[in-house]
């Protein structure tokens, strides 16, 4: 039963909506799924975050809090212009300044790092770097270098229109506009012909910035030819691979550590300029080096959610049945980025036989995009859900009724079932909690220029997770338990959730179990914490490792208790005999085992074939709009999501709050502004790029449909981190439209845009 060897098989797996052939590991055994009826005592309860004490006492050490003996500080000099060639730079003046240890400029970093190039493609691009004894010394020297920069300026394009114009300047040498990605199913022409009602709208979304409070940063230290990297990252193994490749060294000589992290939201998935800068200076100077983005660099050059223009045609019969959905989207990516666009949700959220999406990615001279919580789906949901709400008005149908009439019952992209999809129950539960049938949108009586409105929107997001992920569960001689998995906790609660899963599977008391994460050298591999995947990817590996350890524990107990193993079970850190009342606490059992250490091994098996695994949900918003000032106040949000089993309801609720509040900022005020003439971002701080404060937040009623997705994986849990941000903005926009009596087609809904919508 133990000591199993895994088999490797070739299979097709889904990655970011695409199908790939991969070799995956088939674990020798998979535990029986925890069903909705399985009695569980720790999973499904809400013990406090295991690292909360460190966080409330200020003792949690984040990357910027790491201090190493003799540590130096590095600052990167960035381009103040959007496009051109760096023709002159003076590094020598900076070298003579107090405290300065080294300066690096164009041509001095290995090609693999792509650092310090003379051809400039966006404002904020790294051009040089300084290492000094103190951060202040490094900053002063960086200013001196910055003043010496001379450019041969070239025309830039920082807007979609400028980059697509017939006489547009070259943003990149390989062209500005990527060939459209067109995905079609059914016969759209026929679907349009069959419709009773067809509406076409254009929706616009803005560039949003992640704005994690902890900026990107790294501390690097060499010991001989071994490099240790402390990095604020969502993917320690990805950082290791990036650094090894860029510096041309074996992965085994790079150790990446990450203990605490001040948020990521998708922007921290690999090594960056700060990592390479710190590593290179540390190698040259033989001392540890810390390089942390300042806020301006963070807001200019650490990624963003790109803007979008979505031209949507939606066609339906009089009874609301959708007959065609057409999207023509244009997305200005920045200087680089991957193409996860707004189109996918158009294929997934509703039953519709005829769908065509066209996504055109356009490069512009601005910082490159990075995944940002629900990338593509957040932008797409604003277009799709706003169009659905417009269609409901056109049909004089209730927008919830319209959605329930068009529920997707299968994944129509490849015609396969869902592992579980209870979106209709989310609508029903949400309507009940919101009082949808009884909430009128009449203006409140107190103030005649304040109007009230309500709106709804829905969400889908692929959350199956998958292999590879590995975990070990170690039972120490005092019966304390270590869970070892090379994953990371962004603030989501992964440490807590994985300890809960292990404690449950092992039959151990929760407070005897701790999860050890964030070290590439000493922990087994797991993938990046992205795509809402950590719980569904790593959770099953941890459960399997704990089940393996439990079996070994029972085998040992059977010998000691002289009972058949079938007669034994575990609970509360005790081995219990079913046939009699004998009990052997883990602590006594381990004492008898001496220094023998039980180590359970677990891995994440493949997902079930031909099944779509998604988290779905619906959100309802109520707002007040002052039609004289244009100010929108969100009064309340009701959110109901189906993510399968919820391991820790309180922590998961925090995730819903976070997604909704970020979605509120996206709906109402978050927007990167860029000067079209100069090509430079204007609001690179947390005052002018406004994120929600406590004063902005509404009453939030966030809940789950509790259950277990036994098809998805044997823990029954799907992901929940990204889904809650997806429907918030269109729900708020719908409520604003309801209050105003006119459609709103562009976010953020700043007072100017609200007043503009009224005079249109």
């Amino acid at each position: 039963m133990t000591g199993h060897r895994a088999r490797f098989v070739q299979t097709t797996v889904e990655v970011e909506g695409r199908t790939e052939t991969r070799v995956v590991e088939m674990p020798a055994f998979e535990p029986a799924p925890w069903t909705a009826d399985t009695p569980l005592s720790i999973v499904g309860t809400s013990p406090p975050r295991v690292d909360a004490f460190e966080k409330v006492t200020g003792r949690a050490r984040y990357t910027a809090d790491i201090v190493r003996p003799g540590m130096l500080h590095a600052v990167i000099v960035r381009s103040p212009v959007a496009k051109g060639t760096l023709t002159a730079i003076d590094l020598d003046a900076a070298r003579t300044l107090p405290g300065v240890r080294a300066v690096m400029g164009p041509g001095e970093a290995p090609a693999g790092t792509r650092l310090f190039r003379r051809d400039v493609g966006y404002a904020g691009q790294p051009l040089a770097a300084v290492a000094a004894d103190s951060l202040d010394d490094a900053r002063r020297a960086a200013h001196v270098v910055a003043r010496s920069l001379v450019f041969d300026l070239a025309p830039h394009a920082v807007t979609l229109g400028d980059a697509m114009a017939t006489d547009a300047p070259n943003v990149r040498s390989d062209g500005n506009v990527v060939e459209p990605d067109v995905v079609e199913r059914g016969d759209v022409a026929r679907g349009l012909a069959d419709a009773d009602v067809t509406i076409t709208r254009e929706y616009r979304t803005q560039v949003a910035l992640h704005s994690a409070l902890e900026p990107h940063g790294a501390v690097c230290e060499w010991t001989g030819d071994h490099l240790t990297v402390w990095e604020s990252t969502q993917g320690i193994f990805r950082v290791r691979a990036d650094v090894a490749k860029a510096l041309g060294m074996p992965q085994g000589r790079v150790r990446v550590l990450k203990d605490y992290m001040g948020g990521g939201f998708g922007a921290k998935n690999g090594a960056g300029a700060h990592t390479y800068t710190a590593a290179l200076f540390a190698r040259t100077l033989g001392l540890p080096v810390r390089c942390i983005n300042d806020r301006e660099a963070e807001q200019m050059d650490s990624g963003n959610r790109p803007a979008s223009v979505q031209r949507v045609t939606i066609a339906a019969r009089r009874d609301g049945t959708l007959t065609a959905l057409v999207l023509d989207a244009h997305v200005p990516l920045g200087i680089s980025g991957w193409e996860g666009g707004p189109g996918q949700i158009y294929h997934e959220l509703y039953a519709c036989p005829n769908v065509r999406t066209s996504e055109t990615w356009v490069y512009i001279n601005a910082g490159g995009m990075q995944a940002f919580r629900g990338p593509g789906y957040v932008e797409g949901a604003f277009g799709l859900e706003s169009a659905m709400n417009a269609l409901a008005r056109e049909l004089r149908m209730d927008p919830v009724a319209l959605r329930r009439k068009n529920l997707a019952t299968r994944d129509q992209r490849v015609d396969r079932p869902f592992s579980g999809n209870r979106l209709d129950e989310c609508y029903v539960e949400g309507m009940k909690r919101f009082g949808w049938d009884t909430t009128s949108h009449q203006p409140p009586t107190t103030n005649s220029h304040v109007r009230r409105g309500r709106g709804v929107a829905a969400q889908t997001w692929p959350t199956g997770g998958g292999p590879p992920s590995y975990a070990l569960v170690r039972i120490n001689s005092d019966a304390s338990v270590d869970v070892l998995a090379g994953t990371q906790d962004l603030g989501t609660g992964a440490r807590t959730v994985l300890a809960q899963i292990a404690a449950e599977a092992l039959g151990a008391k929760f407070d005897t179990v701790r999860a050890i994460i964030g070290d590439t050298e000493r922990l087994p591999y797991t993938g990046n914490s992205w795509g809402s995947m950590t719980t569904p990817s790593v959770g099953p590996a941890v459960r399997m490792a704990a089940e393996d350890a439990r079996l070994q524990l029972l085998e040992a107990a059977a010998q000691i208790m002289e009972l058949p193993i079938e007669d034994l079970t575990t609970a509360g850190s005790e081995v219990l005999a079913l046939s009699c009342s004998r009990v052997l606490p883990f602590s006594e059992l381990c004492k008898k085992l001496g220094s023998l250490q039980i180590v359970g091994r677990g891995s994440r098996g493949p997902n079930p074939p031909n099944v779509a695994i998604v988290t779905v949900g619906a959100q309802f918003a109520e707002v007040e709009v002052d039609v004289e000032t244009g100010v929108v106040r969100v009064l309340r949000i009701v959110a109901v999501h189906d993510a399968g089993r919820i391991i820790n309801p309180v922590l998961a609720e925090s995730q819903l709050h976070g997604g909704i509040i970020q979605g509120l900022g996206y709906a109402l005020f978050e927007e990167r502004h860029i000067d079209r003439e100069r090509g430079v971002p204007l609001n690179t701080n947390l005052h002018d790029y406004r994120i929600p404060t406590m004063a902005d937040i509404p009453a939030i009623d966030a809940s789950f449909l509790f259950g277990s997705d036994t098809v998805a994986n044997h823990t029954g849990a799907r992901g929940i981190a990204e889904p809650p941000i997806i429907p918030t903005a269109p729900a708020i926009a719908a409520a604003v439209a309801d209050a105003l009596g006119v459609e709103v087609r562009e976010i953020p809904l700043t007072p100017w845009r609200v007043l503009g919508a009224l005079v249109e």
């Binding site: 909360a52 949690a60 406590m694």
Partner: protein, 154 residues
């Protein structure tokens, strides 16, 4: 120069660390207070200076001679957590935790000033402390719980 930090007399070199935040973090190894915006926008570096709430990133070290400074590290008495720290734990009022020290220092000052704040008072007092994880509802709940418990006890 000398100043009292969390009840202990300490010596710092103001020339080496122009801002109080840098002095606390780099010279006294009190890294609970965070550098986030470096311009008084986010509240992650909030500390008490002679009882007043200040942004340590905008406070000159040289202006703190002989002052009383309290940071998040000074909230607990030994191993006994401040009631707000306990409430932040039990209400899950810290996600990534990066803003948490500033939130706690601000909340502690609020409850000293207004032992029984309304929700409006809490929102007004706390709205200078940004949280990107969106933990606000639980921060409100944690502060509310401490205020209510104290109210019930008196």
């Amino acid at each position: 120069m000398k100043l009292t930090v969390n009840g202990t007399l300490r010596e710092v070199d103001a020339a080496r660390s122009p801002t109080l935040l840098a002095a606390l973090r780099d010279q006294l190894d009190l890294t609970g207070s965070k550098l986030v915006c470096d311009r008084g926008e986010c509240g992650a570096c909030t500390v008490r200076l002679d009882g007043d709430l200040v942004y340590a990133c905008l406070t000159l070290t040289a202006a703190c001679e002989n002052a009383q400074v309290q940071t998040v590290e000074g909230l607990a008495s030994g191993n006994e957590l401040h009631p707000l720290q306990q409430a932040f734990i039990s209400h899950d009022a810290a996600q990534c935790g990066f803003c948490t020290p500033g939130q706690l220092v601000t909340a502690a000052a609020l409850l000293e000033r207004l032992p029984n704040p309304s929700d409006g008072d809490i929102r007004a007092a706390m709205s200078g402390n940004l949280c990107r994880c969106g933990t606000y509802p639980k921060i409100i709940a944690a502060i509310r719980a401490v205020a209510d418990e104290r109210g019930a006890a008196t």
